[in-house]
């Protein structure tokens, strides 16, 4: 993959220019293209974020500045508890996603490769069934669940489904990069149980993909609105933000919270990408 640096535009080949010169010219053109692209796209994506930042620093009167909105993340009634509960739901969802997907994917790859197509189909299905459709059919099921608990934590049951496509893609990429069959057969021949094979042999080799899946799942839970809102779970983050937007004059706290959530997720993903690099040598 490192060699991709040399891929790019090139002037017409074989016109009497030295190899080094061609590389340089091509690279220059490529770099120009890249800088232009990154600048344009960077502006497009940064602009609304900067506007959000500016509104999050808005004071009581238009045109004044105040950091109050950032402090309000902790003090606005109901917001902190909504953040806590949503994070808890995210943690539970991540755990269940892993427990559901990792063993199943390893199992399918090793034992029942024939249904891997069906499995992939089922995992990608939630991308196509809109949440608004799903929630219409979920109401009777959640009625049964609410007989046992009315806590918003019960949302994890459906959030796992929503996260399936993203987690699947991340985990499949990781699983595809390692030779599962050889590893498992080697481990089994040394006397390992299936539990050991899955959790102590294979999973550690795809931990980067697992972390990636966890982060994507968390980002999804933190950003989910439709299902929580229609199932009347008012203390989920996005629903709380929506309610605040309808009832307050100073919307600063909305912008500060959104930005904080985004920055948090971004920082996590960025750190993950660095931590992964050091492991590359293991091949």
């Amino acid at each position: 993959m490192a060699a991709l640096t040399s891929v790019g535009e090139t002037p017409l080949a074989g016109h009497g220019r030295r190899q080094g010169g061609m590389q340089a010219g091509r690279r220059r053109r490529l770099n120009l293209f890249r800088y232009l692209t990154f600048t344009l796209f960077g502006l497009f994506f940064l602009l609304p974020l900067l506007a959000t930042l500016r509104f999050s620093l808005e004071g009581k009167k238009l045109g004044t500045w105040s950091g109050a909105a950032w402090g309000q993340i902790a003090s606005y009634p109901g917001l902190l508890s909504a953040i806590e509960i949503t994070l808890e739901v995210a943690v539970i969802t991540c755990a269940v996603v892993l427990l559901l997907l990792v063993p199943t994917m390893i199992w399918i790859r090793l034992k029942v490769p024939g249904i891997s197509r069906l499995f992939e189909f089922l995992c990608l299905l939630p991308l196509t069934i809109p949440a608004i459709v799903l929630v219409v059919g979920l109401a009777p099921i959640y009625n049964k669940i609410e007989h046992y608990t009315v806590s918003a934590l019960a949302l994890f049951w459906v959030y796992v489904i929503l996260a399936l496509p993203y987690a699947y893609r991340a985990l499949a990429a990781g699983l595809g990069a390692i030779d599962v069959t050889t590893l498992s057969e080697a481990a089994r021949s040394l006397g390992a149980s299936w539990f050991t094979v899955m959790f102590r042999v294979i999973a550690p080799n795809m931990w980067q993909a697992i972390l990636n899946a966890l982060l994507l799942t968390s980002a999804l839970v933190l950003g989910e609105f439709t299902i929580a809102s229609i199932l009347n779970y008012t203390n989920i983050l996005q629903v709380t933000l929506f309610d605040i937007s309808r009832s307050t004059t100073n919307a600063g706290v909305l912008f500060s919270t959104s930005l904080a959530a985004l920055l948090f997720a971004f920082a996590l993903l960025l750190i993950l990408s660095y931590v992964g690099r050091r492991r590359r040598g293991r091949g």
Binding site: L99, L100, E146, Y148, S151, N232, D243, N250
Partner: protein
């Protein structure tokens, strides 16, 4: 094989987590006393004192679709909790009347189901099978046309459709037809989608009446908004306090109690007017859930809302800019909060109230024509 066992373990863990985060299931039984879910009046259940005691024992009240800034509900909830010590759990504050009814159905049998509802008349009239009949102590102070004879629903507060606007930016506005003018570009917005929201439907109906239409057909109103859109004056963004402050929606067509300067979070520059040729009124209605998980608390809430004391529901609604249903009776017996009454937006002209048929016809017409007119 170990892995299926691992799955079982995971499943059990998940179930345990479910159980850990849980509260009690089903509806609490009133131990050894009255079954308040069938009580139709406080007196029949043994009097107010017994009701208060039973409600305190239940300890919780589930309400739904009550935004804190809607007709002073924020303060009403606080006052109720302060007076009786009952925790009020407020679900889905931005929900519509239909959302309330949906919640009653979909949460039926759980401890989360709404105990009481505050719904628009259209929804109330078709959902009576879900309500429990209950007549509050002040039943006789409510006009006969504003309550169900059996007590299934009772109107609670109302107002008139109005136009709120930023007078510093636009000067004084006195008629709807002015809004078609060029200086109102990207300025006018409704409270929601008229094919879905009661307030928005009435907004279009008010425009309809102001433009010369009748309550029987909303076509003129839809045409008015079509013209508004053509002129570039219509803003399809949901008007909220934040958008008003930011200037995105400087003119809002909404119920007058939602358009007062204090509710909207603006100062003296925010003015409200009700067109003199289009005084369109609307009342909302209270109802008790037949299968309420907290039946005594539900009934106590109703008593609180219809009580005429200084810190009780009727006056609190009045302070929120709405007209309480017992206003006439309270003026006679001098329990009305006079300063609050004086602060209501002035209204001249004969009020019009939509009949159920007129409301349904309007809804049908909108469903078929609104999207096209507004594109």
């Amino acid at each position: 094989m170990k892995s299926p066992q691992r799955f079982a373990l995971a499943g059990l863990t998940a179930l345990a987590l479910l159980g850990a985060g849980c509260s009690s299931s089903g509806s609490p039984s009133s131990s050894g006393g009255t079954d308040w879910s069938t009580v139709t009046a406080a007196s029949a259940g043994g009097g107010m004192a017994k009701l208060v005691a039973a409600a305190k024992k239940e300890g919780t009240l589930n309400v739904i679709a009550l935004p804190p800034t809607w007709a002073n509900y924020g303060n009403i909830i606080k006052a109720f909790t302060k007076k009786y010590g009952i925790t009020v759990v407020s679900q889905n504050p931005t929900g519509s009347s239909q959302d309330e009814v949906n919640a009653v159905k979909s949460e039926n049998g759980t401890s989360k189901a709404p105990d009481v509802l505050d719904v628009g008349m259209a929804v109330a009239l078709v959902s009576t099978s879900l309500f429990a009949p209950y007549k509050v102590s002040t039943w006789n102070a409510i006009p006969a046309t504003q309550k169900d004879p059996g007590g299934l629903w009772t109107q609670d507060y109302g107002g008139y459709m109005s136009v709120g606007y930023n007078s510093a930016k636009f000067g004084t506005i006195t008629s709807m037809s002015q809004l078609l003018g060029p200086k109102f570009k990207n300025a006018v917005s409704l409270n929601g989608n008229p094919t879905a929201a009661n307030a928005a439907l009435n907004g279009v109906m008010m425009a309809n009446l102001a433009a010369g239409g009748t309550a029987d057909s909303i076509a003129t109103g839809v045409d008015f908004f079509h013209k508004l859109k053509q002129a570039g004056n219509f803003v399809p963004v949901q008007a909220t306090n934040a958008t008003i402050k930011a200037g995105t929606t400087p003119i809002v067509i909404n119920w007058d109690y939602l358009n007062t300067a204090s509710v909207v979070g603006q100062g003296a520059n925010w003015k409200v007017f009700v067109p003199s040729n289009a005084v369109l009124g609307g009342y909302y209605a209270q109802a008790v859930n037949k299968t309420a998980p907290h039946p005594a608390a539900a009934r106590l809430w109703e008593e609180f809302l219809y009580a005429q004391g200084a810190g009780d529901g009727q006056n609190l609604w009045l302070q929120g800019g709405a007209r309480p249903v017992e206003m006439t009776a309270m003026t006679s017996n001098s329990t009305l909060d006079k300063p609050a009454a004086a602060a209501l937006p002035p209204v001249s002209g004969t009020p019009v109230f939509l009949s159920p048929k007129q409301a349904t016809d309007a809804a049908t017409y909108l469903a078929a024509h609104w999207a096209q007119a507004i594109k």
